[in-house]
């Protein structure tokens, strides 16, 4: 190859013989990632073997060159050597960009600290790949639970939805490999459709400041970073096997990556996970198994100043929902809540029967980027997602095996981003987004559509600028605007339409009448502005102060707008409101951080005020032929949340470390002067870690997780008359469960450490004391205890 180039260069240099031979070539050698200069780089002109080195400022000069085309080889101790072809006519300036491969490699193999920050002024929590490996058989929500200020809203123990500083569902944006997840995240019992094993690392931004991902992340943004392939000839992989006693199941995940020094790379990854019924300390949780199958493929080309990547993943998950939680009306609720054990307890089994969920998520992405001199790095991305959600209820007759809900949500997104370094201290990120989404609710279910058919168009544009005032002081400001148009076809029950006064408010949207239903065509427009401003200041080398204000605005989701009917899994009637406006949130967050390996900490207080916050709460009891049901209605109010998250880590003796976490959040409904429902209780985690690199990298950790009782909650209890006892019973759906403390043990050891492969053996025991407990944020807490003790064996082979 080089030989060919030489000949080519030789040929191309002939015409230049008679030309001016008094010109110079000068410029800088810089790192392509962060633009930092590279002193001590060597530049060799292949034709003449003339060599120079860059000075302390990364600058070089070749003088007395002839005009013509040269092949220049640039090398640096920390980078792979590269060749560049340069055409010289007159005195020429040319900067060369090299890539810090060694750092790139660190990211994959030993978890280096060089990450790109999503925002400059919000403190970000990150879970490294090594830590994620401990949750390999769990879910994304389980892993995120390990971060202070992040809890989860569960439906059983396999549907785990992240809650950031008290907010969840549509208020939390999840970015998976650069793609904003559109997986019907509005539902409280819809878990994110992400394979935890496909992420390189995970960052959590507790606020809406990361405007490049959207302006509606009222709660925050979770970024599952993709894994990066190094630019060198290599083949490596990882295989993990987990086996657990609780649920008597296992998971298997494997990944292999091939990369070339030309920049080409490809990788394949897959996960298989199967668990049977889980167990509390005292009984089997019937029908709580899970069967998950995922695969992903990635390929691309990574050059210094351009590249592209293709990515496709499929996520398929079948989840059983606790059999005893599927009940009829209020009379059934009384029995279920008042019974200390679930009313249906069967033998352990792997079969997943209704009620169950069966979800398939396809995600495809193509992305290309190019560095333009003087303009910056431009990237163009198209992504496609298709989410098919099937929910099965217990049904009768010929419908018994038919889904009660069958929604297909298809999303296309086009993103164009430009990251430009305007000057050495000023960086500008801009971008535009176009999105089309289509929801199709299959009428074959024989059940009225929970979410109507709709088409949604979104357009967005943002700009974020950060400016380094001094080496240790950065300020950041940004703005974003989004336009959303929804074209909906929704059938309303005539009785509901009239009881809501919609016949007078929206007579124009009725398309036709059919039986006791009305077909309507609401067309909704939302204009959402969002902004962020903040600053980071570092001092004494190890202290950092982050300050951020963010304004976010979120258009109501289809569930908030269009719900109208019985929600089986919640045993209640839920009503949305067609006239909802966007929610507008203001959040102020401050973080004080000390980065020190002996004693480091971060303290993160925040105050969050949300105008037109959409809450769902009970309003009345409705009589139906199936009995009485509590009616929950969405309403808009003004809410405020305040809280603090604390992390601290102290190395108090050789190989011994103490980690502490504390999170507190309080939520109030300002309009009604009452507490907000489902706020995470105060909790603290304290962990003692022993780590010794000399004994096969042994790591032993004992953790206590203490969750206080939530004492602030709205009273939503109601009464129901029971004919069989002729008494009126109180249904307590409000009182939170008692405080609890769980002990968890975690250990691992590296075996067979050779230069080429490493085997890690791990043993985890969760809920060591087999404590019976119920979690306020588990929607099935009314019916059953949470999980009992679990032994988990983990085998991990890196090669």
């Amino acid at each position: 190859m080089r030989y060919k180039v030489m000949i080519l260069l030789l040929l191309s240099s002939f015409p230049s013989i008679s030309q001016n031979c008094d010109v110079s070539l000068s410029g800088k050698v810089i790192d392509i990632h962060d633009g930092s200069i590279l002193p001590g780089a060597t530049l060799v002109i292949s034709n003449t073997q003339e060599a120079v080195q860059t000075n302390l400022y990364g600058e070089y000069t070749f003088s007395n060159l002839c005009e013509g085309t040269y092949f220049i080889q640039v090398s640096h101790p920390l980078c792979l050597t590269r060749g560049f072809t340069v055409k010289i006519s007159g005195d020429t300036t040319r900067d060369f960009k090299l890539e810090h491969h060694l750092e790139e490699l660190n990211q994959i193999l030993i978890e280096g600290k060089t990450f790109q920050n999503e925002t400059e002024s919000i403190f970000q929590n990150r879970i490294s790949r090594a830590a994620l490996d401990r949750y390999s058989s769990g879910s994304l929500g389980d892993a995120l639970n390990s971060i202070s200020g992040v809890s989860s809203l569960n439906t059983g123990n396999t549907v785990v939805k992240p809650v950031i500083n008290g907010l969840h569902s549509s208020r939390v944006v999840i970015i998976n490999n650069g793609v904003r997840m559109e997986d019907q995240e509005w539902g409280a019992e819809h878990a994110p459709n992400i394979d935890i094993n496909s992420a390189g690392s995970i960052s959590v931004i507790k606020g809406a400041g990361a405007l490049q991902y959207g302006g509606n992340a009222v709660g925050g943004v979770i970024v599952a970073n993709s894994k990066k392939a190094p630019v060198k000839d290599t083949l490596y992989g990882q295989t993990q096997f987990n086996a657990a006693t609780n649920g008597r199941g296992s998971s298997f995940t494997s990944e292999i990556t091939k990369a070339y020094k030309t920049g080409w790379y490809g990788s394949l990854q897959g996960t298989l996970k199967r668990f049977g019924d889980f167990q509390t300390p005292d009984y089997v949780l019937s029908n709580t198994g899970i069967f998950e199958r995922n695969a992903s493929i990635r390929f691309g080309l990574n050059q210094f100043d351009y590249g592209f990547e293709g990515y496709y993943s499929i996520f398929k998950n079948k989840i059983g929902i606790l059999r005893a939680s599927h009940i009829g009306g209020a009379q059934d609720q009384v029995r279920a809540i008042n019974s200390s054990r679930p009313l249906i307890i069967g033998e352990f089994g792997y079969t997943i029967e209704p009620p169950k969920q069966d979800v398939t998520h396809h995600l495809a992405r193509v992305k290309a980027f190019k560095e333009f001199n003087g303009l910056g790095k431009a990237s163009l991305q198209y992504d496609f997602q298709r989410n098919n959600r099937l929910e099965f209820d217990i049904r009768r007759g010929s419908d018994a095996n038919k889904a009660s809900l069958d929604l297909a949500l298809t999303t296309h997104t086009l993103l164009l981003d430009l990251d430009s370094e305007v000057s050495e201290n000023l960086n500008l990120k801009t971008g535009i987004m176009a999105r089309y989404q289509d929801n199709f609710a299959d009428p074959e279910t024989g059940v009225r559509r929970l979410i109507p058919d709709y088409e949604k168009y979104e357009l967005g544009a943002y700009a974020i600028v950060d400016f380094k005032i001094r080496e240790n002081w950065t300020v950041e400001a940004g703005g974003r605007f989004d336009y959303t148009y929804m074209d909906v076809f929704k059938f309303y029950r005539s009785s509901f339409w009239e009881s809501r006064n919609y016949d007078e408010l929206f007579p124009e949207i009725v398309v036709e009448e059919s039986g006791n239903q009305l077909l309507t065509n609401p067309q909704l427009n939302f204009y959402n502005a969002s902004a962020t401003a903040g600053s980071t200041y570092s001092f004494d080398g190890e202290y950092k102060l982050f300050f951020n204000y963010s304004l976010a605005s979120r258009a109501p989701n289809p569930s908030e707008l269009f719900s109208e009917g019985l929600h089986h899994s919640a045993s209640r009637i839920e009503l949305g409101d067609l006239s909802f406006q966007s929610e507008i949130s203001h959040k102020l967050a401050l973080t004080f951080q000390r980065e020190n390996s002996t004693f480091g900490f971060s303290i993160n207080p925040y105050i969050h005020s949300i105008k037109d916050f959409i809450v769902i709460e009970p309003i009345e009891i409705q009589q139906t032929i199936r009995g009485n049901f509590q009616v929950w209605e969405y309403r808009q109010t003004n809410a405020s949340l305040l809280g603090v998250d604390v992390d601290a880590s102290l190395a108090f003796a050789k190989n011994l470390r103490f980690n502490h976490q504390f999170s507190l959040v309080k939520g109030y409904d300002r309009s009604r002067n009452q507490e907000l429902i489902d706020m995470p209780p105060v909790n603290t985690k304290n962990e003692l870690v022993y780590q010794n690199p000399k004994i096969y990298n042994l790591r032993l950790a004992l953790q206590s997780e203490y969750v206080f009782r939530q004492n602030e909650f709205p009273n939503n209890n109601f009464e129901v008359f029971l004919p069989e006892t002729e008494t009126t019973e109180l249904i307590d759906v409000s009182t939170p469960p008692n405080a609890y403390n769980l002990l968890n043990f975690n250990s691992n050891i590296d075996l067979n450490t050779t230069s080429k492969s490493k085997l890690t053996l791990g043993l985890t025991v969760s809920n060591l004391l087999n404590t019976s407990y119920r979690n306020y944020l588990n929607r099935l807490r009314f019916y059953a205890d949470d999980l009992g003790r679990n032994f988990l064996l983990n085998l991990k082979l890196n090669y």
């Binding site: 009379q331 009428p443 398309v511 004919p723 069989e724």
Partner: protein, 184 residues
């Protein structure tokens, strides 16, 4: 130049999006097939008297309107009535008879009769599933002395069978209807 290319790609994909969308496919309504809208209990004597009917009808299902309850007349004291229960889905035309489905899946269903205090009547199951456990779409009602009170019918789907009554049957309530009944 390249910026130009990007923008034109964006523009054309924008066109593609608009071209793909079709506004003219209006969705079809879903008529729920398994909904029970109407429960009719007929109480007849062996004689030729017109049966007494107890009806509850909830045409909008879990919509806002409450069920409409009608009782055609009073029961005679000291009489044995043959009871028959008919379940209908009247949201479809012609109405679908759900009783047949319930009787086919007799091992997964059971009716319960709850007699309120004050009302002097007793009930007995009139039909059973393959295992000899009660189903109860047919029953016998024997009235005592003149009295009045509530009579409640509850249909449970997938109850524990056999059971000792509503309290330990479990399962999911598919229907619950109370009638004010007078024996004279």
């Amino acid at each position: 130049m390249n910026k130009f290319k990007f923008l034109s790609v964006l523009f054309f994909s924008g066109l593609l999006f608009t071209a793909c969308s079709s506004d003219d496919d209006v969705p079809e309504p879903v008529n729920e097939e398994e909904v029970i809208t109407t429960l009719t209990v007929s109480l007849s004597t062996d004689g030729s008297a017109t049966p007494i009917t107890l009806i509850t009808r909830d045409l909008d299902g879990d919509g806002p309107n409450p069920p409409v309850i009608t009782v055609s007349g009073n029961l005679a004291a000291g009489t044995t009535y043959n009871g028959t229960i008919v379940l209908l889905n009247e949201t479809v035309t012609p109405p679908e008879n759900i009783t047949e489905e319930v009787e086919e899946e007799d091992d997964e269903h059971q009716f319960f009769y709850t007699v309120g205090s004050g009302l002097n009547v007793t009930t007995e199951y009139g039909n059973f599933d393959g295992d000899g456990n009660p189903l109860g779409t047919k029953f016998t009602l024997i009235t005592g002395a003149a009295s009045s009170g509530t009579l409640t019918f509850t249909l449970r789907h997938e109850p524990k069978k056999p059971n000792t009554g509503l309290a330990d049957a479990g399962g999911e309530t598919d229907l619950a209807a109370s009638f004010n009944v007078t024996v004279e």
